[in-house]
């Protein structure tokens, strides 16, 4: 069984991002970039399925600027077998990403595609569901457990009230939640080995997709800043302040 895993290059989750002074977006120049944390979880799950003998090949795909190749290398070092880079300097939104991934899936014919539940930059939480729709496949989103048995995949999902389990016909889409697994660190020998693994390079036009964005960002502003308040000296003072000053209890 072949598994595709789309991996997005995003601003590292530890970076305190800043809005650009001209309000055109977020400052990304000179900022540390990493693989979207949920996509590390997606790669890890695929590698575990391969280690169990369920998966035979893992293809890591990244779409965006040339440096996305580094994100693919990270996936290869974690255990993916080969990579596909869809290179463009243009802004890609989830609809375009889903269309490009569908074109790749049509060629590659995987049984399973594992994506992150959410990219921590655009916070859209949309691409996996959209790809499932375009392929006409079922979707198991926000997965905290995945079991494959023959032509069925059973996915336990993190939902608002707790957990929900669904069974899907393969081929299917899974999107990862935080508790699906704990991704491994790539070992040095595996990082060396990853350098020799192949990465296919293509452009959106090669896939016959018009990636033009449908949402235009008019401006980005900082959210209202909260000021640090006061330190209280005791529990009694806290309760008194909540009663008489804040009037919330």
């Amino acid at each position: 069984m072949k598994i595709l895993v789309p991996v997005k290059r995003v601003v590292d989750y530890n970076v305190k991002v800043r809005v650009k002074a001209d309000g055109s977006g977020i400052e990304t120049a000179g900022v540390k970039m990493s693989m979207n944390p949920f996509d590390e979880i997606a790669i890890e799950e695929a590698v575990r399925l391969k280690e169990k003998g369920v998966a035979t090949e893992i293809v890591a795909i990244s779409l965006g600027v040339a440096q996305c190749a580094e994100t693919i290398r990270t996936a290869l070092a974690m255990g993916a077998d080969r990579g596909i880079l869809v290179e463009t300097d243009a802004e890609l939104q989830p609809l375009a990403v889903a269309k490009l991934l569908k074109a790749i899936a049509d060629k590659e014919q995987p049984k399973l595609i594992i994506l992150g539940k959410q990219a921590i930059d655009d916070d859209m939480s949309a691409t996996g569901q959209m790809l499932a729709a375009l392929l006409g496949w079922p979707q198991g989103t926000f997965a905290s457990k995945v079991v494959i048995d023959g032509d069925t995949i059973t996915v336990t999902r993190e939902v608002d009230g707790g957990l929900e389990t669904v069974a899907l016909n393969l081929p299917a889409i899974v999107t990862t939640d935080l508790r699906l697994n704990e991704p491994r660190y790539a070992s040095l020998p595996n990082i060396m080995k990853a350098r020799k693994k192949p990465i296919d390079n293509m452009k959106p036009a090669d896939l016959g997709v018009d990636p033009a964005p449908r949402l235009t960002t008019l401006k980005v502003v900082e959210p209202p800043k909260r000021k640090a308040g006061v330190k209280v000296g005791s529990v009694a003072e806290l309760v008194a302040k909540l009663r008489t000053e804040a009037k919330v209890i």
């Binding site: 989830p94 979707q139 900082e222 959210p223």
Partner: protein
Amino acid sequence: MTSLVLLEYDDAGIKQPSRSAVAAAAKLGEIHALVAGSGVEAAAAAAAKLPGVAKVLAADAPALDHLLAEPTAALLVALAPAYSHLLAATTAVGKNIMPRVAALLDAQPISDIAEVVDADTFVRPIYAGNGMATVKSSDAKKVITVRAASFDPVAAEGGNAPIEAVSIPDLPGVSKFISAELSKSERPELTAARVVISGGRGMQAGENFKLLEPIADKLGAAVGASRAAVDAGFVPNDFQVGQTGKIVAPELYVAVGISGAIQHLAGMKDSKVIVAINKDEEAPIFQVADYGLVADLFTALPELAAELERS
């Protein structure tokens, strides 16, 4: 211009996040509401009472039970021709279904809006809420999820809309509901509570969350948690507040033994009043707290319970 809002419901009626989605839709024009599922009569009657709803569509079919994404999206797509905007709350259900609907309509979803500027233009958070982006959609139909914490919900009563049964299109049968393991609690839901008290890694163990209970009881609060507390198995996943958990904006948020990582702040920094209890006076949570108490939570929590009990 008419909007269709997908509602979520339980035995108590239409859920609060869905009533916030109706409030957002009210800024766009006429509103129709959709209740889907197996046996939706009571839910349709509850939906008909929401102020501002002009018509309720009731979609009743066994295949719609549990609102699985594949059949529910197919239903929404079948209904879409009559609508300019399709909306749902940013909940596990809304996030699961609406992007699927958008793709089938060749539209880019507009996720988690915090403000309606006009029929095409919306404000939404990006980068864990560290930026608020104003975006304009060029799609013919807008598919939207609504950040419930940013819109005051419409009341549960006051309207009297007609209910119309909709004919059910062919629904895909590629997915099946197996089971649900839902946390049972007498407390209000996190996203609807007036007061939230959350514990973090500093709580040290699941059983120590009991220290929060008398306080939550006294204040009518929901109990939440940081990711670290959930990952450590102290509490179930549905307690998580944050960028990738639940977004809350209660009147009062009490963070206990939580350091205040960006991802946690993203889920609670719009709360009206924030209290932090942490033994580390340098903890970043104090930078957003209106009232900070530097203290060991194991002494502060019993004291707080006693102090609230006293008066």
